[in-house]
Point group: C2
Chain length 213, copies 2
DNA sequence: CGTTGTATTGAATAGTTTCAAGGTGCGTGG
DNA sequence: CCACGCACCTTGAAACTATTCAATACAACG
């Protein structure tokens, strides 16, 4: 989208699209907003979260470039989308997008695959949160995020972690303190190294096996 | 699907479809099986679960009539599907189904909405497991399952719970004992009544407010 | 009427959260 | 350029919650 699709016909879709940029911690849309557009993330990371009435928060995902934001079954968004650092998204007017899709089955298949991918991630997250202890959750998070990151940005020595410990905790169902303790446990065990803005994997295999716990 | 869609054109799709019946605890497909068909549940309940290497299990969903089974992003199923009691599913040959879809955009939109619905359920499940205590999880499960059940079968005095306590626990990330304790706590508090094969709601409102915990 | 699978209940244990205090890094303004 | 404030992170100890282990009860079915 917005540059990633080569097909000539797609050019006409791009006419419907607008690139929008966000800086750190800006709201892209809110839970319960009416859905008027389809968003595709072209650059940066977006936090997707739900707020509970008492202030607790569940982060349901971190979107990476290429991801569509806000598949939903109704007329309202089910969660908030907020930029984590600089972000560029490609926004399509909703009905125009779907009208276009009906004439471009290839794209529709692609969107469907994307939905399937989202669903798979959500189910793996359920398994992470539902059946693993704190150590396994943190290890699982790091391994999962590295896989997704490298699929988009290629392999690199250090894995950026643009989210805070609090956000990691709100994603995997732990407190900030527990996340911190487990990360530093891995550091003491020489599985990872904490560097500014991210981590470096020393013994990824052993971390993967921790992630089974 | 298989009777639920009136459209004449759909008749030709039905030609690709086969109704298959299962009795209790039969495998419909397994995790990692190649995806050769698309399934739509027409009768009964299907358990969707992932098994971890050490024997633990995460149930990622209970499918009800009308649900498609096994949206996936790859060529393999991401989880097992097993019948809970008598089940009838409508099975389409995969490529034929997608070829048909390209010529029937209405159906494609419907499938997309369905995927969005699945995703929404998965995200609510994350919030349930990630940010709620045992009481809130069990209450949330009961309320959620009642909502879904009544959307399919209409309101009834007693809500059937065709799954065991163990399955409830494996769905909401608790042990069987904790599930039992919380259910019986609700019984003692006169919020619900346990009846053979299900429960009856006495004070649904208060249960909903427990579900916030 | 006994067997089998499922559910309940109690007591001890383990793991995570909570509360509290201190540390680190970074940008801003004096 | 240093000091200060602020946000984020780390660490320790106490409190709490869910799990584990163990025993018993119940229901369905031959």
């Amino acid at each position: 989208m917005c540059g990633t699709v080569a097909d000539d016909q797609i050019k006409s879709l791009e006419a419907h699209a607008r690139v929008i940029r966000f800086s750190n911690e800006q709201v892209i849309y809110r839970q319960d907003d009416p859905i008027r557009s389809v968003h595709n993330l072209s650059h940066g990371i977006v936090r997707l979260d739900k707020l509970l009435s008492d202030g607790r928060r569940q982060i349901v995902g971190f979107a990476l470039p290429g991801d569509f934001l806000g598949f939903a079954d109704g007329e309202k968004y089910a969660f908030n989308a907020t930029s984590l650092g600089d972000v560029a998204i490609c926004r399509f007017e909703r009905e125009g997008f779907f009208k276009f899709l009906t004439n471009h089955p290839f794209l529709l298949r692609r969107l469907h695959d994307r939905a399937g991918h989202e669903l798979k991630l959500a189910q793996e997250q359920m398994t992470l949160i539902g059946r693993k202890n704190a150590r396994g959750r943190v290890a699982g998070f790091l391994v999962m995020f590295r896989d997704r990151w490298e699929r988009v940005n290629g392999r690199s020595a250090t894995l950026p972690l643009p989210m805070t410990r609090l956000e990691i905790g709100d994603y995997i169902g732990l407190t900030i303190e527990t996340v911190s303790r487990e990360i530093n446990h891995f550091v003491r065990e020489k599985l990872i190294l904490v560097v500014p803005g991210g981590i470096r994997f020393i013994d990824a295999d052993r971390l993967v096996s921790m992630a089974r716990q």
